[in-house]
């Protein structure tokens, strides 16, 4: 029991085996936590807003603050034209926030510590923004890759760079969230194993460190949800208004 593998917490376990047309679509612990996140988010918002009081209570205040916060973010970064996409951005924020925070509960599973999950979220955002861009601007949307007023010679270099920087976006968006979550959780587990190996005498030192780290991790959990969503807003701004 002495030395546990710090990466063991990220292991995917099949709970219900399921095969659809040769594709492994088993219900795993990851899926279980995603369902849990959705249920918890829905319950939180519905419970908080059940009274719709003019003077909000604690829970209603929390729900309203989150709502106002995201609404303000979309309005500031995308403008009024971005408000149709507000429900999506709010859902995204709540999902990532609850995923990150639920991962802080001991013995739970952090959905966002798997790059495939964060990449799926990021690719939805980026493909969505591209589709919105083409729907709103038609073929003129391609002008995003060729800034106006640049000489032709420079365009030969600039256009590939712009295209690459656009294509790379889902990767950087997903890697940021995944790396932050995974690094933090691994670090905690490593420190936790020090407690056991140092024994009764010196084992208290890592416990202090873990406590501090825990606070930091909760902060990172919220910050990363915020960062993911504000970058979504910035990309959405490109799609809606076509300028960086």
């Amino acid at each position: 029991m002495g030395q546990t593998n710090p990466l063991e917490q990220f292991e995917i376990r099949r709970l219900i085996d399921l095969k659809i047309g040769g594709i492994d679509a088993s219900f795993t612990n990851s899926s279980l936590f995603m369902v849990l996140i959705i249920v918890l988010t829905t319950v939180f918002v519905l419970y908080a807003m059940r009274k719709r009081a003019m003077v909000p209570g604690r829970f209603q205040l929390m729900a309203e603050l989150t709502y106002e916060f995201i609404a303000g973010m979309v309005r500031d970064n995308v403008g009024k034209e971005g408000m149709p996409y507000f429900p999506f951005v709010f859902t995204l924020f709540m999902f990532i926030l609850f995923a990150n925070l639920l991962g802080m509960v001991p013995y739970s599973f952090t959905v966002t510590s798997h790059i495939i999950v964060t990449f799926a979220l990021a690719i939805v955002v980026c493909v969505g923004v591209t589709v919105i861009g083409f729907m709103r601007h038609g073929l003129k949307f391609l002008g995003l890759f060729a800034p106006a007023g640049v000489p032709l010679v420079l365009l030969i270099i600039l256009v590939p760079i712009e295209i690459i920087s656009y294509v790379v976006r889902p990767c950087s968006l997903s890697i940021r969230l995944f790396a932050n979550m995974m690094a933090g959780h691994t670090l905690m587990k490593v420190f936790a194993s020090f407690v056991i190996s140092l024994g009764l005498l010196a084992g208290w030192v890592p416990i202090l460190l873990i406590s501090a780290l825990n606070g930091l991790e909760v902060g990172i959990a919220m910050l990363q949800a915020y960062v993911f969503v504000i970058l979504t807003c910035l990309y959405l701004n490109d799609g809606v208004h076509m300028h960086h």
Partner: protein, 115 residues
């Protein structure tokens, strides 16, 4: 407001709400919570974001180039070209992000000394 026992009439409240909404939609008053968050976000946090932005672009381009080279048998030329483009694209992305956050930090008059 002067008489604490008597609540302000609903018409009055409605008027004030409309005024506040109008101001908000002009973009003149920014979300307070957000301003606090962008300000409170440490420079270390920003540095992290920029680092990820640059490294990802370079890594994705290099790996993509290596894979294309292996497929087309043109080692190492595509990888070299894509590596250079990746560095530029990563720098461009990081620059844009930094400008964006810099602009946001600059807008409130007091929050411009920390970066």
């Amino acid at each position: 407001m002067s008489d604490p026992d008597k609540p302000p009439s609903l018409e009055d409240l409605e008027g004030r709400l409309r005024q506040a909404r109008g101001k908000r939609d002009d973009g003149t008053s920014r979300g307070q919570a957000e301003r606090r968050l962008t300000e409170g976000k440490s420079s270390l946090g920003l540095a992290w974001q920029l680092g990820v932005e640059m490294i990802t672009a370079v890594a994705v381009c290099t790996v993509g180039g290596w894979w294309l080279d292996r497929w087309l048998g043109t080692r190492p030329w595509i990888m070299v070209a894509l590596f250079l483009l990746g560095v530029s694209a990563g720098t461009l992305n990081a620059y844009r992000l930094a400008m964006r956050f810099g602009r946001e930090a600059q807008e409130p008059p007091e929050g411009d000394e920390d970066r």
